[in-house]
């Protein structure tokens, strides 16, 4: 089994794929988180009724397969609007919105977890809305939201495996290209799986540890 024809060039090819996976994930998580925090705060501030259109819009990203979102965005940008965008750009755009949709939910949950009385106390002490958000809500909500956010970021990394559909050669796609050439599916897939696992597992454990440590009891 370890009698492989995998050459150094192939390893570099795989490493490039891994680099793309990490790059797409990093860009999408950063943009998605900023948007998600924004959307989450807007949803809480507006209340359920006024925020309904936003809620509906974000819900779409969580109810339609990512594969379809990518194909649709690609077709819309390319065929309908006739824009010449790279697959990488479309992938980052869709994944950012996808991340934002989940992140908004996490942010909302975090803000809701701060007791209303605590916030009222802050306001009656003369704090402005911004001060209340920064000094009261932010630290308390982070305790609730951060573990879920780590889970989300890892989820996005795993879901980024789907961007092959817009012609982005990330780790799993590079693996598949090599499989076609070398005909050693098990060995190559194990390398690829190990890569995801090595990144995801420690961070997931860390998230679990934070969740346990920060839970209010």
């Amino acid at each position: 089994m370890f009698d492989t024809t995998l050459s150094l060039t192939d390893v570099i090819f795989l490493a490039k794929g891994a680099g793309i996976t990490i790059l797409v994930t990093a860009i999408s998580v950063v943009i998605g988180t900023v948007l998600g925090i924004l959307f989450g705060i807007i949803r809480v501030q507006l209340g359920a009724v006024l925020a309904a259109p936003l809620t509906f819009f974000l819900d779409i990203f969580r109810s339609v397969p990512l594969l379809i979102q990518l194909v649709l965005a690609n077709a819309f940008m390319g065929m309908v609007l006739q824009l010449q965008l790279s697959g990488f750009f479309v992938a980052c755009m869709v994944l950012s919105l996808y991340t934002a949709a989940y992140c908004a939910e996490i942010v909302r949950g975090g803000i809701d977890a701060v007791p209303k009385t605590t916030r009222r106390a802050a306001r009656s002490l003369g704090m402005s809305w911004g001060q209340d958000m920064r000094h009261i809500v932010l630290p308390l909500a982070t305790r609730v939201a951060l573990p879920s956010w780590i889970g989300l970021a890892l989820g996005v990394m795993k879901d980024s495996a789907l961007v092959y559909v817009v012609q982005v050669t990330e780790l799993l796609k590079s693996t598949q290209i090599l499989i076609t050439r070398l005909q050693e599916p098990l060995f190559l897939l194990l390398i690829c799986g190990a890569f995801y696992f090595i990144i995801s597992f420690p961070l997931a454990r860390f998230g679990g540890y934070l969740e346990k440590r920060w839970s209010n009891d």
Binding site: I60, S63, V64, P65, L66, L67, I68, Q69, V71, L72, A75, F76, M79, V80, L81, Q82, L154, K158, D159, A161, L162, L172, Q176, I179, E184, P185, L186, L189, L190, C192, G193, Y196, F197, S200, F201, A204
Partner: protein, 221 residues
């Protein structure tokens, strides 16, 4: 700029085919969920069994399922297992991949749910003369499934969304596969996938709402 004309009529004519695909999608998701729940219960029992090899096996399963992409798991079921000379049909590969994933996530949900059930209940069962398997089956298990009902609904939605990955192993009877094939015939990519997206959206909404109604009825007390 907008010299693209939408051709919904032509695409809507293919709707019956896509709905057939949606049925296959549902079939895969429901099967993977049912088998997944049973496997997850087995994994949960293994992790609680106190036997080190069993617990290690179950933990490995759960961690691999949770820390690698679902697409990787489906590839593994299709191309990975094929190196041992066992060749599955796309349907089977997809089912194995999603079930593996479901079982892992559900087992973790079940573990969380078990934490909410006081240890004293098992002891109460035992002191009433139940065997340990009886007290698990009749006292712990029903409560566990009840607490984990919401995460199970989420997992069901995930299972539906994951069926779209079957296309990568050559599945062409599910909703995504059918859409892909129609796309190859007609090149109305945007219209076709928009409709597929709407069907997926409706399916997931029906599941979420149905589960909420069922929960209201099942868990009245």
């Amino acid at each position: 700029m907008f010299d693209y004309t939408f051709q919904w009529k032509q695409v809507l004519a293919r709707l019956p085919k896509m709905l057939d695909g949606a049925m296959v999608t549902m079939e895969v998701a429901v099967l993977s969920m049912l088998i997944g729940i049973v496997l997850a219960i087995v994994l949960t029992v293994m992790r609680r069994s106190g036997s080190r090899p069993l617990a290690a096996f179950a933990t490995t399963w759960v961690e691999v399922a949770r820390n690698t992409p679902a697409l990787f798991q489906i590839y593994m079921a299709h191309f990975g297992i094929a190196s041992f000379g066992i060749h599955f049909s796309p349907f089977t590969s997809l089912l194995i991949g999603i079930t593996f994933n479901n079982a892992g996530y559900l087992a973790e949900n079940f573990r969380g749910a078990l934490k909410a059930i006081p240890e004293t209940q098992t002891r109460a069962g035992r002191s009433l003369g139940m065997t340990s398997s009886q007290s698990f089956r009749f006292i712990i298990l029903p409560q566990m499934l009840r607490i984990a009902f919401l995460p199970m609904t989420n997992q069901m939605v995930w299972a539906i969304l994951m069926t779209s990955l079957g296309v990568t192993v050559g599945m062409n009877t599910d909703l995504y596969g059918v859409t892909q094939d129609l796309n190859a015939l007609t090149f109305r990519t945007f219209e076709l996938f928009a409709i597929a997206g709407v069907i997926f959206y409706i399916i997931t909404k029906v599941i979420t709402l149905g589960a909420r109604l069922a929960a209201a009825r099942l868990f009245r007390y």
